[in-house]
Amino acid sequence: MIAELGHMAVILAFVVAFVQAILPMWGGMTGDARLMHTAGPAALVQFGAVGFAFVMLTIAFVTSDFSVKLVASNSHSLKPMLYKFSGVWGNHEGSMLLWILILVFYGALVAVFGRGLPLLLKARVLSVQSMISLAFLAFLLFTSNPFERLELPPVDGNDLNPLLQDPGLAFHPPFLYFGYVGLSMTFSFAVAALLQGSVDAAWARWVRPWALLAWVTLTIGIALGSWWAYYELGWGGWWFWDPVENASFMPWLIAVALLHSAIVVEKRESLKTWTVLLAILGFSFSLIGTFIVRSGVITSVHAFANDPERGVFILAILVVAIGGSLTLFALRAASLKSTAVFSMVSRESGLVVNNLLLVVAAIVVFVGTIWPLVAELTTGRKLSVGAPFFNLAFTPFMVGIALVLPVAALLPWKRGKLAKTARPLWGAAVLAVALMLLIWSLQTGGRMLAPIGLGLAAWVVLGAVFDVAQRGQIGRIDLGASLRRLRNLPRADWGKAVAHAGLGLTIFGISAITAWEVEDIRVAQIGERFTLSGYEFSFDKVEDSNGKNYSATIGTVSVRVDERIVAVLHPEKRFYPVQRMPTTEAGISSALHRDLYVALGDQQGDGWVLRSYVKPFAVWIWIGSIVMALGGGLSLSDRRFRVGAAKRRAGRREVAA
């Protein structure tokens, strides 16, 4: 019964989506307010129906109902409850249902909180949003029904891929999807704007929160995924430039660009066409990402979804959505007129540079990701594009962004003087260069990666600090007044500084771990001691142990500095009998200045293969990501972005930005 109810609910949602896609748009064309008013309630019904279906599927998973095919092939009665739950989206059909659930959730948010939106805009946005959900509901119903029954239910399930049985990966997809799908909102707003042929500051204010929300969740999702890779894969890599990772990284880059260009639209009524194009591109990359992951066209980690029929369906959605919106863009973009002009040295120009670097970087990632496919289709050559290419081709853009960021962030709108703007940053520049020289001399030559990377990181972080300091006029007025100024600083400005500092911290972590990591690989006997980078590792013992649905071999490695124990690590090798699959769980001790990382390998003779690493400042990669997301959150909480706030803005004191 449960599964059938779920199935019915999806069909209901499909029908409602159809109505919601047509009626409000029709109403918009004929000026019929009653038809336009159907959008809100329809969005809520859609959300209710999909939400109900999702709950039904969750019940099937949690109660291990193996008569449902999806549950039988992806769950197991002995699986811990958390993974029964996360198993709902640990497979193709369930993750598509989650995708749609989040999509209609966004629609419901607009319906509930979008009271301040003009009726026509709201109707069009929800209509476009519903066209997307209509396409994906059709995809779910016709190619990926999660509620399919089995005639002969098995006694027990096939279990979830053990690699997915991990807290980091359990919550990685929901965050990613919140980000991917969040970009559908900005897409819908862009299409609505093109339909009405105008974009103004209010439009930018309505769009920016969605872009922010999408970006924040994407940031968290990507960080979770990379953290998982770090501790699960056994050698501490945290980014692989895998097609699936790139699929989430491209929308992230575009979302960053969109966030920034929307500011220009809001504050200066300029770059309108570009911003609309970015909003379309952002969601296009989300769709391309979904296509890459779901079709298996570029075989990769997430190979659990290799199915050509599904691939073709998503490709069709992709072509219609991207092609349609870009055609509309080509037809209507000329009607988006700007009123403002700005000079070469201005905040606007800085943001143009930011957008240029981000978008070209995203294109580089895109070309690299699809190149093997293109090469094979056009010339029949089979080749690979991997980390070395991306590191080489992508890094220069990030260096460029890091160099320009602190100055551009301080430039005034419309027209600025470079020398005047750069004055408060001299301190940051001097400190950053001093740090570079210090590191360079400390490591006595060697690769330039550490000095340059850390110098850039310091420049970006200090730039953010000096930005805030300058806004508070610290040192120029008395401290109390400064603090009052800082307290009254809009949240969006705090968010900006915090997010920028977060980027700097991530650059710091990446540079440090890449330049300074040391490793030791050996067959270690029980009781063996060895020294690595000043830490004495002692391989104490190996024990067998049993988890709920796996067997494990757990090593104990204690780490000493001057005979004082600083960490006891428990690297694990697990074996999941149902899927006959081994996994590794590295033993990690994290501290702000270093991670100690040990992975246990196989037994060789009377010893064990032991891989030990000292990874300086590794956690800063993720601290930086969290700080970035936090900055986005701060910005999101700024009162001027509360949906509908744009209308009330008149009369409120605006703090000059």
């Binding site: 690699l163 890779a229 894969l233 056994g234 890599g237 692989f240 430039w241 895998d242 097609p243 220009v264 300029s270 770059l271 309108k272 066409t273 570009w274 075989t299 990769s300 980690v301 997430h302 190979a303 000329a334 988006l336 007129k337 700007s338 002009v341 700005f342 000079s343 070469m344 606007e348 143009v352 540079v353 957008n355 240029l356 978008v359 070209v360 294109i363 580089v364 070309v367 690299g368 190149w371 050559r381 089979k382 080749l383 690979s384 594009v385 991997g386 980390a387 070395p388 290419f389 081709a393 220069p396 690989i521 050996r522 067959v523 006959r580 699959m581 081994p582 390998g601 196989d602 293969v609």
Partner: protein
Amino acid sequence: MIRVCIILIALMALPVQAVEPDEILSDVAQEARAREISKNLRCLICRNENIDSSNAGIAKDLRILVRERIVAGDSNEQVIDFVVDRYGEYVLLQPRRSWGNLLLWLAGPLMLLFGGYIGLRTIKTGGDAPAQDLTPEEQQRLKDLMRD
């Protein structure tokens, strides 16, 4: 990639591991070169994983092959050519800078130039299709009006 690899290994039920102690060359400089070369060579049955971190048997074979060539006195380029001759361009994680890959390598720089040009034009004109500029006569008229 990694997961596919692990699954394949699980099927073979004979797990081997990434760079193993017995493979490591005693000459530190030679081992460092082997690592450098390995980073650009992919494990053929995995997705996007280099042979250094792969657990697959083929990766182990390649690691040993690379070290044999180094010990035999090959330069880094010679080692890579040797491997590519046998396994094809597919084995390289960083595609060659050949005519066939021209677009891949130039995509970034070209887009940057093109985008830079558009960006500059945008900055000069003030973004988007500018609201129609006033002609000199209109400006003069405006000035006259303002004076009144």
